[in-house]
């Protein structure tokens, strides 16, 4: 039985929890967000939930120009998860600003815009464009998707290389100049995630978002060929939750130990229920994103918020922030 089902019996006593949280200078009414690439720009979820009631909508990573994405098949279901190789299909920044941002604004939703580039200059250009709009233009924060291929380095993802991560984040932070909080989104596919976190924070990131998908592969046993046209794909869903919990725990522990500048961590990976979210929070996340679970249940981000609030109340928390990092006490 899920936390949500239990919530029904004891509703009423749950209203007391203060769910407010902060990502640097940005205050959010609650800590549950959508995940990039799992909610488009919010509009398609409108029939299933109230986008303005979420902490924020994190939009699909946007690049400078329109991108067609990879060939199909682009996905394969795996036990409690899926592989995807979408290849950042999207309309490009101008179309995004013209069509998607106004809709989110009109709805009163907070927009965290995810950006992706093939080199540091593209990231900086995108960041500049969005920082110009700023909070008044409907942008609440930037999430820098450094888990995408670096054109100059044979497609090695930026987030696997501390120097490349530093370069991208420093470029973005410089052009944003404090107008928006900048979150660096990390890949779990590294030997030492604390080292990449340090590179991003030293470069001036206001916070970290972790984790992105982890690279995987499925072979069709009839054809004996890879299922995905892109051969490998990113694994997501509850299957990767333990990896997310571990990564968040390690980075938060390094912050507590003084080995890393303290900064907000947005937890991502396999959140399907409020209790899943609570694991990430206890590991050190001050907000969580719901990604793949949205494909199973398009109202999942809203449901997870309700379940998390209830779980906190049940455990005697008056404020959400008091649960952050509790696994370290």
């Amino acid at each position: 039985m899920s936390a949500g089902e239990r919530a029904e019996g004891t509703a009423g006593e749950v209203s007391g929890v203060d769910m407010t949280t902060h990502l640097g200078t940005l205050e959010l009414p609650n800590p549950v967000l959508t995940a990039s690439g799992c909610s488009a720009a919010g509009r398609e979820l409108d029939p299933f939930l109230d986008v303005a009631g979420l902490g924020a909508v994190v939009t699909k990573s946007i690049a400078r120009a329109a991108r067609p994405g990879r060939a199909t098949p682009r996905m394969a279901e795996t036990p409690s998860g899926m592989l995807n190789s979408i290849g950042l299909q999207g309309p490009g920044i101008e179309a995004f600003l013209a069509k998607d941002v106004p809709w989110l604004r009109e709805r009163g939703a907070r927009a965290v815009v995810s950006i992706a580039g093939g080199d540091a200059a593209e990231f900086a250009e995108l960041a500049g464009r969005l920082a110009e709009l700023g909070p008044e233009g409907g942008i609440s924060a930037l999430e820098v998707n450094i888990s995408c291929p670096n054109v100059a380095n044979r497609g090695l993802v930026f987030a696997c290389d501390p120097a490349a991560s530093t370069q991208v984040i420093a470029g973005v932070v410089e052009v944003v100049a404090g107008r928006l909080p900048v979150l660096a989104k990390l890949s779990p596919d590294v030997t030492d995630i604390v080292e990449i976190a340090r590179a991003c924070l030293d470069a001036g990131a206001d916070g970290l978002a972790m984790i992105n998908t982890t690279l995987g592969m499925v072979i069709d046993t009839d054809t004996l060929r890879p299922v995905l046209a892109g051969i490998t794909g990113g694994l997501s869903g509850p299957a990767i939750r333990p990896i997310a919990v571990r990564c968040i725990y390690q980075v938060h522990a390094a912050m507590r130990a003084g080995a890393l500048r303290p900064a907000p961590i947005v937890g991502i990976g396999g959140v399907r229920t409020g209790l899943d979210a609570l694991q990430l929070v206890a590991a050190g996340a001050c907000a969580v994103q719901v990604g793949t679970a949205t494909f199973n249940d398009p109202s999942a981000p809203e449901r997870v918020l309700g379940e998390l609030r209830h779980a906190l109340a049940e455990r005697g928390f008056a404020r959400f922030v008091d649960a952050i990092g509790r696994a370290h006490d």
């Binding site: 039985m1 899920s2 690439g37 799992c38 909610s39 488009a40 398609e44 979820l45 409108d46 029939p47 299933f48 699909k60 067609p68 994405g69 060939a71 199909t72 098949p73 682009r74 996905m75 279901e77 036990p79 409690s80 998860g81 899926m82 995807n84 979408i86 299909q89 069709d220 054809t223 060929r225 890879p226 299922v227 995905l228 046209a229 869903g237 509850p238 793949t292 679970a293 949205t294 494909f295 199973n296 249940d297 398009p298 109202s299």
Partner: protein, 304 residues
Amino acid sequence: MSERPVQQRVRLRSITPEGAYHRLVLDAGQVARTAQPGQFVALSVGGADSAMLLRRCFSIAGRREGGIELLIAARGKGSTWLTQRRPGTSLDVIGPLGGPFPPAPRRAGVVLVGGGYGAAPLLWFAEELIARGRAASTVQLVLGAASQDRLAGVEQARALGAGVHVTTDDGSAGIAGRVTAAVPAALAAARREAPRESRPAPGSAPAAGSGSAETAGPPVEVYACGPMAMLRAVSEVAAEHGSPTWCAVEESMACGVGVCMTCVLPIRGADGVVRNLRTCTDGPTFDARAIVWDQIPSLTGGSR
């Protein structure tokens, strides 16, 4: 633009084997209220803690007393789970999804080509066309499958009074061969039966551009639902006979509601530009002339 989809927990009213398939009736009143032929639903499978995270998509095969009908082939784990449910089971459904079949012009004959369970949504479409006043004889159904047990809707089609053309790959029913073998005859029958007023006057020259005797006469529109290779073959035969084809495609879908971008097909827009469109929200039915077949990996030696 069609109505917004709803997410509903519904009761499985009945489940009946039908050849190689199962017909499910769901008490999905809110979905049924606005559903139109060509739209589909997405069902979650395996229960609340299921390791099968993704919903399975099925065409709506009809509306029945405030519920919807589905015709489901047990294929892998998820569809097999569905076909093993007992009446009374509670299921989580989202729908109606996607757009409906584009309406057939009143004056045109209609050929509906269904491969296997692909016949199911086309039968509902035929039913609605006839219910709205179209002569049953102007609707020609081509129903094909690998073998007799995988044919769907033959009896239903006959009961409607529509023209019925049956093919099986193994010859166990109807013409031995693919659906394309029966398409020319169905096109000819639809043209012959198309509403009188639009027939050229006796002795008049065929319309410009439709030179051969075969393609002269009233227009005929083709609707096809089945595997991608079938859709392409049907649309090619139809085009040779001067008819456009509306193809209802079946791409792998992770979300079904338009947020994930897994379900795309290369579609040429009116501006000539090819874009990867989402088949769940921009489809699932496309004009065959806009589909860029040569860029679809599954047809050109891709891995599936």
